[in-house]
Symmetry: C2
Subunit: 394 residues, 2 copies
């Protein structure tokens, strides 16, 4: 029998995807260059040339049976060693290759990390505003996602609400910093308090509470912003990374889980991921992509356009009267809508060909998300549309 659960999921179409489809359709009418499509978080800058050169070099010079042969299900050992070394150098950690599990992007990393540390029925806490895919990701592991209400003052953490929800049933806490959709980066103080609350609760309940840290935007941090490495603050941390945004490689599905060496049974956890992968059908990311990213670990695409765009938008939006927490990273900005109902607000914005995602889908009401991973020229041209929109000129 066809399983009803997955059939039902098809009904809940992604709001972001719907808006993106609207933008594409509108583009066919008026030219896509005239649609200010802020819907999708798709990188807008090319992968570094070194990645392409490495791929070509591997294809031209490496023995194809080795190049395309099975890698271990944990990932290629040399690749895992290089990732460990790079993280150690950058963040003062003590990973070895044994703490790294190669995954198909952050989605794959989270799928494995959550299964390592939670049984069906356990709770996973995350914080609003949050990436809506966490819903199905967690739901399909059998655990239950619970969302801590947003600290709307600055999109750090509402610790009172957090502590109230951090009951004995919580197996793990899932954070995302720099954050999609708010652009906020968790401060040292936030991470320190988070760690201290979790440590205290671990002792009180007598069981581990894991921190699953989703970090695809780790490399997109703006000038003057301190972006501390969450795993430095809390031993039981599984860091989930994707190269999608830093290297502009979202389609190539490559990332990893890095298990803090001080985590309980650290090396066991990464090895368990390879057992879990037998059930998810994951096995390992493609060998050629693993080998190629290993050569560009300390590079990124030219990410400067995102900061340029953020500054333009932040200045204009605040001067137009939008309340807005200044993003510290990512390619998102999350202003408060000019009316209570963000869905209605986003609907009206369409008239000005401004495609904004209402915040309801991120677990908080009254905001809109702009994904400004688009050309700066288009961002600039969108400003007059914003002005007209705010003045209700049509």
């Amino acid at each position: 029998m066809i399983v009803q659960k997955y059939k039902d999921m098809l009904k809940g179409k992604s709001v972001i995807r719907q808006l993106s489809e609207f933008a594409t359709a509108r583009g066919k009418e008026i030219g896509y260059e005239n649609v200010f499509d802020y819907s999708l978080g798709n990188p807008s800058v090319p992968v570094p040339q070194q990645f392409t050169d490495t791929m070509i070099d591997l294809l031209q010079h490496k023995n194809p049976m080795e190049l395309h042969g099975y890698s271990q299900s944990l990932g290629i050992p040399e690749v895992r060693d290089k990732i460990a070394a790079s993280l150690n150098k950058r963040f003062g950690m003590n990973y070895t290759g044994n703490h790294i599990f190669m995954a198909t992007g952050a989605a794959g990393a989270i799928a494995h990390a959550v299964r390592c540390v939670s049984e069906p029925g356990d709770e996973i806490l995350t914080f609003a505003p949050y990436f809506p895919e966490y819903g199905p990701y967690i739901d399909l592991t059998g655990a239950t996602l619970k969302v801590v209400p947003a600290d709307t003052k600055n999109f750090q953490i509402d610790f009172e609400a957090f502590e109230r929800m951090l009951t004995e049933k919580v197996a793990a806490v899932l954070i995302n910093t720099p954050n999609n959709p708010s652009g906020t980066v968790y401060s040292t103080e936030t991470l320190r308090t988070l760690a201290s609350v979790m440590t205290r609760k671990q002792e009180e309940y007598g069981h581990d509470i894991f921190l699953i840290s989703d970090e695809p935007y780790r490399e997109i941090v703006f000038a003057g912003v301190d972006s501390p490495y969450p795993s430095r603050f809390y031993d039981n941390t599984l860091s989930c990374y994707s190269f999608s945004k830093s290297l502009s490689l979202p389609g190539e599905r490559i990332g990893y889980v890095a298990v803090n060496p001080k985590c309980r049974d650290a090396e066991l956890i990464s090895t368990m991921c390879s057992q879990i992968s037998r059930g998810t059908g994951h096995n390992c990311p493609p060998s050629i992509i693993q080998l190629a990213v290993a050569e560009v670990l300390d590079l990124t695409a030219d990410l400067s356009v995102y900061e340029t765009n953020m500054n333009i938008l932040y200045k204009e939006l605040t001067s137009l009267g939008f309340e807005c927490v200044k993003p510290g990273g990512t390619f998102y900005i999350f202003p408060k809508a000019l009316e209570e109902d963000a869905v209605a607000f986003s609907e009206k914005a369409k008239k000005y060909d401004l495609i904004l995602v209402p915040s309801d889908t991120f677990g908080v009401k009254g905001y809109v998300r702009l994904a400004y991973c688009i050309d700066t020229d288009k961002v600039e041209r969108s400003l007059s549309a914003f002005r007209k929109f705010v003045k209700n000129e049509y």
Copy 2:
């Protein structure tokens, strides 16, 4: 808390993997060229040059943002269309791209197919001898794998045993033709009888029973052997394919599920796969690999070495007194051991540097599997070791 289930799985180390490690260690002592390592099913011939050329061409000429951008979670539409067209041409089917779900190899395909059609607690039937990874694959979906005893006469299907086990609890039947480990190809008669029993039982029970057909060896079929396409015989068929063996690309993790258009809710099933993928963290196979295989769908690596090796081994083994069903495809041969205990037999073979996998791991006793995806020269050199082994000369 760390999940005990996955921790426990680590204890059950794969017999095949252990033998492969033994072979590698022994190779360090006497030179790997002197170890007759028949343990692993790793292709021994290079990928077609056209694949490599296509990859390089894509890297050199395609816009990197498009090339490495997100593909739809079902896979790139043009790639799915091309796969449908190729299957239609070869097997007289009526697939459209909408019936194809791109997956990370057959493992990924099976993970999605099984989840589509079975609830936790349902039974999945397969036939001994079978690929041992089916155990964890199925177990981690929540369904239960039940193994129909082998038809040891010719490794087709023991229909009496099958019908006895095809109870109301069975959601799907998982077949693998050409078969790992026996090398057998299911005949038209076998597939016809299978379909007729399943059709009858579907009616009797009033619910669908799906056929999940695992076909990574589809392209490795020897001269004179008829290899019918299972989906032609039974409407409710999900065909799971991997390019690992046909194109010698096991590390690149690329394959698909093809849903028979006559399957109940056929297009719904492929779309459901993309919902399941949100839970498995799979998303889609890498875009560049999807695009590159789409250009070589009707090519294979030069697979002729496997048939050459099979003929040499079959002739020698039977003349040495081994009972052996002649393989119709794959790169495996599955002779009866010369004593009842295949584990003990395989252990003794090691003394002659013959690495044979005892059949217990494939769900049947008293046989050994030889994976002859190795150089023909080594196969020939192994014959004198077999002769000595049989005569117990050491």
